[in-house]
């Protein structure tokens, strides 16, 4: 059914809004006095001369600085050309150790000394004309290109795409066969799986494809069918079927299965979708749900840490598709033990070695120790212990272990001897990710040996302990991985259900027709569909196999503002317990540099546990291991089987690991690493494969697993950036894309570990010949939300954090389709403006197109005393002209239900008064019984005159019987409850899931700022309106410009938000010059330039103005810091919070007043207030507050028995002789009765006072 009276189409809406906004901005500016367009400057406020002086004073300094800096840069290449060029990886390796003697190092130290000299003496060599000018200034242009290719939420999309395209197939492949216990000839095999396009489920629709927006409006799930290809036996026949639907999978918006991918803005508009919306979320039952990124420790890696007793242990969480388990190697009383869940008791490591076939002590110690004397001493007790336990042969050890295996009493499992048991456990359960092929335990032995060695190593040198908070040891789990876990579980369950059903049917001795499994296939599909929907809509992730039970995985996408939605998509939640009082996981880790935003984290209990991705961060997906393994061997990695223990730990030998698995060793580590990198830069292996040397542990680690955090960086070689000016020019001309830079080997992705292996310069001028990489742009270390702050590098850091939290509460534009949405609650600003002082991030994320705030002219001065404690003074005329005006849209929805007995809800036209007028309550209703758009709603008005049948279960009794017949209806209207009047914006009639008629109303309210509404600048400086002053009383400058906001200067000294001052300065300069200024982090418009603009336009360089008081008409005694600052209106408004009551509802049970504004509750006189009254001795006031005004109750007490009586009668004594009446709180009476119910007898003894 089409929506009722929708006023317009979306494409036109977009254009209209855009222009309207522009125009108003202009108008508003003029009237607010920010930019007096028509006014010619009549007088310079401060002298030009004054400014010139300042300029002269400032300039020499500046020149010195610039030239000095320039000299450093220009000089570098010259120094370099004299030194021999050495390989970048060569220096890289040496960097961690002591510098070795060599030509390069001498040159290096020389270089350093020259630099120091120049810094110390401000030595300024004459720049040569021939010197190259290192520009590369526009290298940040790579960033928009990157974001264009990848989008803002690339991590979610990549992950989901990987799941749908690759992982799904792997899961099906691993579970492809379904057989029957009854009929051995029967089998069903899945030969393929794919996910279709999103389609609606309505039975009668001709065109099945639908848009996400339709799902939002109709409360549907945006999902696509999962098709499988199957092959099965039907009697003697083999049947192949393609495209059998086994369920529906929710589709992530903008993923490659979504209808929105690769659509132009115009097509998006036609689908009522906002082109700026990042996607990356799901729509389940009409609500937008985000699967948050989960942070956890990496799997399959050896991590050495200290246990609670201070002993060293090496832990590995091995995770394969089948099992997930933890194995520990730790040292106790000098001996090494192996611990695993499947073992009842920890076993000596030596026993494990021997059980795996390495029985000679010599061989074991070589494997663990090598030739190191120091290690040998630590290890020998373990060998002795094994001998003491009489564990010599493999058989003895297997038996020893076999006896300690935890026996799973699973039904139907085959009984095995202890030896078999031990063999099985060692091969397939302990360290399951290390493969044991054909009984070859060598790899596993080496693995355990390395674990043992790492423990010993850490004992000798505790600094080798792994840092659990180090980002390189972390993996991020995204929507794709979580869904794949869920799907695997659901699919397995589907198959077991299928098997049970098949068995059931096949058991029947004689069937009417040949059994065709196809019918069974389709009838179970609801389980998978419902499983997905339930998990995503509740956020409870339950995977029984892995004992996984997580709550709060999904969240409703916050649509408070565009930034809130965007911030949600980049959020990372940590698995760490928030109650534990350890600071480690909460602290800012140096390895987060450039990967996670240092500013954007909540305050309070989740501080530091919830993090946000930085702008350029990318999260990897799994890539194939096999080609990398082959490449490693081809590049000189030696197979483990060919190496003895002694060689393994040889001085020059580095172990090579692939995703935590030891695959071999390399004797030429530097060359090996360099070669792998060359292969990667040439595109021979995935760009997300990382390789780095761990010198301390003598390992080369190659990773290709998913969930690693990485980011693109420019490659530097021989002290020169590989990206050259002409590349950037081609980029700007559109000849090159970001991916081309990757392909050409100019830019590469580095993950956290590999980043540590390089030397990254932040700026071109910092490049030395040791530099391996160059940042694309330093400001990308901030995330999308913190990127809004102008000049964040001038602010005290907590201020940026506060703003990151508040930016999400700002009211503004939400999306281009905001007026087509029907959300539960939607806040919109009437005239949003893009900030005068922008940042590059703002342009990149589109905040300038969907802003949330207005440029207010601010005077930093004291005014009236209503501005203490951060309160703001607002100009009344500015409010009249639309400053801070916002719209609040609310949804009211109802369903016209059909009931089991055939009855259904009905909607009636408004009833009439006897005099044929419509009662006030039903005024807003149209003749169809629904409120019509444009109607004004007062509190208590009805939105829909709906009635429901009284009897919904029994048989409908036609003709109306006695009492409660099915044709009797009770009114179930929807009433408008809010205290302020509002208007009906839209009425929508449609059908939701299961063909239920769905009616939604959108209610609109326009609010003008009032006393107590909350505003904030972009620097963590929030404040409420303290006073609204008429414009004539406001201070004004000699042009007559009045401030919109007066802010108290006390906000500055303790907060140290210098960025805000610079924002004002730049904003003012921007207005005078008629252009937008930049406040990008670590860059942006410079204060000197801004001052110059101010001077050129006849203003003071410091941004201060000569101001006349509006009250006295005299000039103010001080010069006022005066100019535009971007202010956000926050969602906390007085209208939603104001509450008071005289008398009102009470709770049923205790008869005490209800609690909370929504229930018209009372205001609590709490414990502390009570204490005050007690302390003061105001006992009668106490009685009044706590009893008389709350739940006073008159009881009758029998003095004979002490029980409560009733109406002057004691039922216990059966008399009314000694009954007294008494006033006590009802809650007290309730307590007595509850105690009586528990066989406790409270007796009241009354005394005469």
């Amino acid at each position: 059914m089409p929506p009722k009276r929708t006023p317009s189409t979306s494409s036109t809406r977009k254009t209209t809004r855009g222009t309207a906004k522009n125009d108003v901005t202009e108008e508003g500016a003029t009237s607010n006095g920010v930019a007096p367009k028509r006014a010619a400057p009549t007088r310079a406020t401060k002298s030009k001369q004054n400014g010139d002086q300042a300029k002269i004073k400032a300039e020499p300094n500046e020149i010195v600085m610039a030239e000095n800096g320039g000299a450093v840069i220009t000089n570098t290449p010259t120094t370099q050309s004299t030194t021999s060029t050495i390989s970048s990886s060569g220096t890289r390796g040496r960097k961690l150790k002591k510098p070795k003697q060599g030509q390069s190092d001498i040159a290096n130290s020389l270089d350093e000394r020259v630099e120091k000299l120049m810094e110390a003496k401000k030595y300024k060599p004459k720049p040569k004309l021939t010197d190259p000018i290192p520009t590369l200034e526009d290298k940040w242009k790579l960033l928009p290109s990157f974001l264009r290719v990848k989008g803002l939420v690339k991590q979610h999309l990549d992950s989901f795409n990987y799941f749908v395209d690759v992982d799904l197939k792997k899961i099906v492949k691993a579970n492809e066969m379904v057989t029957s216990d009854v009929d051995p000839n029967f089998y069903l095999k899945y030969t393929g799986i794919r996910v279709g396009r999103p389609e609606r489920m309505d039975a009668h629709s001709a065109d099945k494809s639908y848009t996400p927006h339709e799902c939002r409006l109709r409360d549907l799930t945006y999902a696509a069918s999962i098709f499988v290809d199957v092959e099965y036996t039907r009697g003697r026949q083999l049947v192949r079927r393609r495209g059998v639907v086994i369920g529906r999978m929710p589709i992530m918006l903008r993923s490659n299965k979504c209808v929105l991918t690769n659509k132009t803005d115009k097509q998006m508009a036609a689908m009522q979708e906002c082109p700026l919306d990042p996607g990356g979320y799901f729509i389940v039952k009409g609500t937008e749900k985000v699967i948050l990124v989960q942070e956890q420790l990496s799997k399959n890696r050896i991590i050495v840490q200290e246990d609670s007793k201070g002993q060293m242990m090496a832990v590995v969480t091995s995770s394969t598709h089948e099992v997930k388990s933890k194995a520990y190697v730790y040292i106790k009383k000098g001996c090494l033990y192996l611990k695993h869940n499947s073992l009842v008791e920890d076993i000596p490591v030596v026993a494990a070695f021997k059980a795996m076939g390495i029985t000679a002590d010599q061989e074991i110690s070589k494997l663990v120790v090598g030739t190191d004397e120091e290690f040998y001493e630590l290890f020998s007790p373990s060998l002795e212990q094994a001998a003491m336990l009489k564990l010599f042969t493999q058989k003895q050890c297997l038996e020893y272990i076999g006896k300690r295996v935890r026996i799973s009493r699973r039904f139907g499992s085959i009984r095995r001897t202890p030896i078999e048991e031990a063999h099985e456990i060692l091969a397939n359960v302990i360290l399951a990710h290390v493969p044991v092929l054909n009984g070859d335990f060598k790899q596993k032995c080496v693995y355990i040996a390395v674990m043992a060695r790492r423990v010993l190593q850490t004992i000798i040198d505790p600094s080798l302990m792994d840092d659990l908070d180090y980002l390189g040891n972390k993996r991020l789990e995204l929507a794709g991985q979580l869904l794949s876990l869920l799907f695997e579980d659901l699919f397995k369950k589907y198959n077991t259900d299928l098997k049970i059903n098949i068995d059931k049917v096949l058991k029947k001795p004689n069937r009417a027709q040949e059994f065709d499994v196809f019918n069974q296939l389709t009838c179970h599909s609801d389980n998978i569909t419902q499983g997905f929907v339930r998990a995503i809509s509740t956020g409870n992730w339950k995977v029984a196999r892995f004992k996984m039970d997580r709550a709060g995985v999904t969240h409703i996408l916050s649509r408070l503002s565009y930034i809130a939605a965007l911030g949600m998509m980049t959020r990372i939640s940590s698995q760490f317990e928030k109650t534990r009082k350890v600071s480690g996981p909460r602290a800012l880790q140096p390895s987060q540099w450039g990967m996670l935003c240092p500013s954007d984290t909540p305050e309070g209990e989740l501080c530091g546990l919830v993090k946000n991705l930085a702008l350029m961060t990318h999260i990897t997906t799994d890539s194939e291991e096999e080609p990398i393994r082959r490449l490693a061997f081809a590049l000189g990695c030696e197979d483990l089987n060919t190496i003895t223990g002694e060689e393994l730990y040889d001085h020059h030998t580095y172990l090579v690991t692939l995703n935590g698995l030891i695959i071999g060793a390399s004797r030429q580590s530097q060359k090996f690493v360099r070669n792998v990198r060359i292969m990667r830069r040439n595109g021979r292996i995935s760009e997300f494969v990382s390789i780095f040397i761990d010198d301390a542990r003598k390992m080369i680690n190659i990773s290709s697993d998913g969930g690693r955090i990485c980011r693109p960086i420019i490659i530097v070689e021989n002290g020169e950036s590989r990206v050259k000016d002409h590349h950037i020019r081609d980029l700007l001309a559109g000849k090159l894309e970001f991916d081309d830079f990757l392909r050409l080997g100019l830019v590469e992705y580095l993950d956290v570990n590999e980043e540590n292996d390089g030397l990254i310069a932040s700026y071109t001028r910092e490049i030395t010949k040791e530099t391996t990489h160059l940042e694309i742009e330093p400001f990308t270390l901030l995330g999308a939300v913190a990127g809004l702050i102008p000049y964040p590098h001038h602010n005290q850091s907590p201020r940026n954090t506060y703003q990151s939290a508040m930016g999400k509460q700002a009211i503004g534009a939400i999306a281009y389709n905001q007026l087509n949405r029907i959300d539960t609650l939607l806040y919109l600003l009437v005239y949003p403006q893009q900030p005068m002082v922008k940042t590059k991030t703002i342009e990149l994320i589109g905040y300038d197109k969907l802003p949330a705030g207005q440029n207010a002219t601010v005077a930093v001065m004291s005014y009236s005393g209503y501005d203490i404690e951060d309160a703001l003074i607002l100009n009344k005329s500015s409010l009249d002209r639309g400053f801070g005006r916002c719209q609040v849209m609310r949804k009211y929805a109802t369903v016209i239900r059909k009931y089991a007995n055939g009855t259904y809800d009905r909607v009636l036209d408004p009833p009439l008064n006897p005099d044929n007028t419509i009662p006030a309550k039903f005024e807003a209703l149209d003749r169809d019984g629904l409120a019509s758009p444009g109607e004004r709603l007062m509190p208590g008005h009805t939105l829909i005159n709906k009635q429901s049948p009284v009897n919904t279960t029994g048989e409908p009794t036609m003709g109306g019987g006695f009492g409660g017949g099915a044709d009797e209806y009770k009114p179930t209207p929807l009433t408008f409850k809010y205290p302020e009047p509002a208007y009906v914006d839209k009425t929508m009639l449609t059908t939701g899931e299961n063909d239920q008629t769905l009616i939604k109303f959108l209610i609109r309210q326009t609010r003008r700022p009032e006393l107590g509404d909350k505003f904030s600048s972009r620097h963590g400086q929030k404040g409420v309106i303290g006073l609204i002053v008429p414009q004539p009383d406001m201070p004004f400058n000699d042009w007559g410009v009045c401030p919109d906001i007066v802010m108290n200067p006390h906000g500055f000294p303790s907060r140290m938000t210098v960025g805000k001052m610079i924002e004002l300065l730049s904003g003012k300069a921007g207005i005078l010059k008629g252009e937008l200024q930049y406040g990008t982090a670590f860059g942006g418009s410079k204060v000197e330039d801004m001052s110059k603009i101010l001077i050129d336009h006849g203003f003071d360089y410091s941004g201060k103005d000569y101001v006349t008081s509006g009250i006295t008409g005299e000039p103010l005694a001080a010069y006022i810091f005066f100019g535009p600052i971007y202010y956000q209106k926050l969602k906390h408004m007085v209208m939603d919070k104001m509450h008071a009551r005289a008398h009102g509802p009470r709770t049923v049970l205790t008869r005490q007043p209800t609690e909370g504004r929504s229930r018209d509750g009372g205001l609590r006189l709490g414990e502390m207030e009570r204490d005050c009254l007690i302390g003061y001795g105001a006992s009668m006031l106490l009685v009044e507050r706590l009893m008389l005004s709350s739940d006073a109750f008159e009881v009758f007490v029998c003095q004979e028995c002490g029980y409560l009586g009733y109406s002057g009668w004691c039922q216990y004594c059966r008399s009314s002789k000694r009954i007294n009446s008494l006033k006590i709180p009802y809650a007290c009476k309730l307590l007595f009765q509850e105690m009586q119910a528990m066989n406790i007898m409270p007796r009241l003894v009354l005394e005469e006072v």
Partner: protein, 250 residues
């Protein structure tokens, strides 16, 4: 000048049809902000003083606006589309080819049909009635009265240029002495010249605003004077109370 000089602005809007993207309140607010030529404000009565029931031609001007887009390109509805009942009170246009102030845009099939009533009012009540956008003000360009002291880095004389208003101060007594030294400070001096820099929104001429403002001021002062006189004359008390009811509340 900002607060009490009356002008005419749209005060009530009746929506007959609005299928544009902007909600009713939004459009009503925008209409209110449109400056209307108010040279003849005087001839209108305040609605509250008028004898009519709701509004009449003596206290208000009516406008209608009916626009509908039937073409494929969206059209702009501007202040030019407002049809007035009184030719002397029309939306302000800067020049003949002024496009007018944009109210909203309409896409194909959208329609806006409204009826507006403009009334006389003062900006004390709402800023839409303000004839001025900004009013600059100065009274002592040479800082003779020493109401302020100039902040300076080295030399206040060099750093602070005289404003244009200083040229007006031809008479000796307003200036500093020619040799640069200040005249002896006259602490009894009171400002007696005031310079205004008036920027209007177009509904009135700046000079008219100033004239009207001074007249209003005079009226107020004379009312005050009468009241004070009455106060001092006890015989007139009876009379003044009678008068008090009909007087303006200020």
């Amino acid at each position: 000048m900002i607060a009490e000089v009356p002008t005419i602005a749209i005060d009530m809007v009746e929506f007959l049809d609005n299928t544009s993207v902007l909600p009713d309140e939004f459009i009503a607010h925008r209409l209110g902000m449109i400056p209307l030529t108010s040279h003849d404000v005087e001839k209108f009565k305040n609605t509250r003083d008028c004898s009519c029931d709701q509004y009449c031609s003596e206290c208000s001007v009516e406008y209608t606006l009916h626009a509908r887009c039937d073409g494929d390109t969206p059209i702009s509805v501007t202040s030019r589309d407002l049809v007035s009942t009184d030719s002397s009170v029309v939306p302000v246009l800067e020049s003949a080819d002024d496009q007018g102030i944009l109210i909203t845009k309409l896409a194909k099939g959208q329609e806006l049909n409204i009826h507006c009533i403009a009334k006389k009012g003062v900006s004390k009540e709402h800023a839409k009635w303000s004839p001025c956008a900004a009013v600059g003000f100065e009274y002592d360009p040479y800082n003779k009265l020493k109401h302020t002291d100039y902040w300076f880095e080295k030399d206040p004389k060099a750093e602070w240029p005289l404003s244009d208003n200083a040229k007006e101060e031809a008479e000796k007594k307003y200036q500093t002495l020619p040799d640069g030294s200040d005249a002896p400070f006259d602490y009894n001096a009171a400002p007696d010249r005031f310079y205004f820099r008036v920027e209007t929104v177009g509904s009135m001429k700046p000079e008219n605003v100033v004239i009207m403002a001074t007249r209003l001021m005079q009226e107020k002062l004379s009312t005050l004077e009468i009241c004070l006189e009455d106060d001092q004359n006890p015989n007139a008390n009876q009379f003044s109370n009678d008068l008090g009811d009909s007087m303006e509340p200020w």
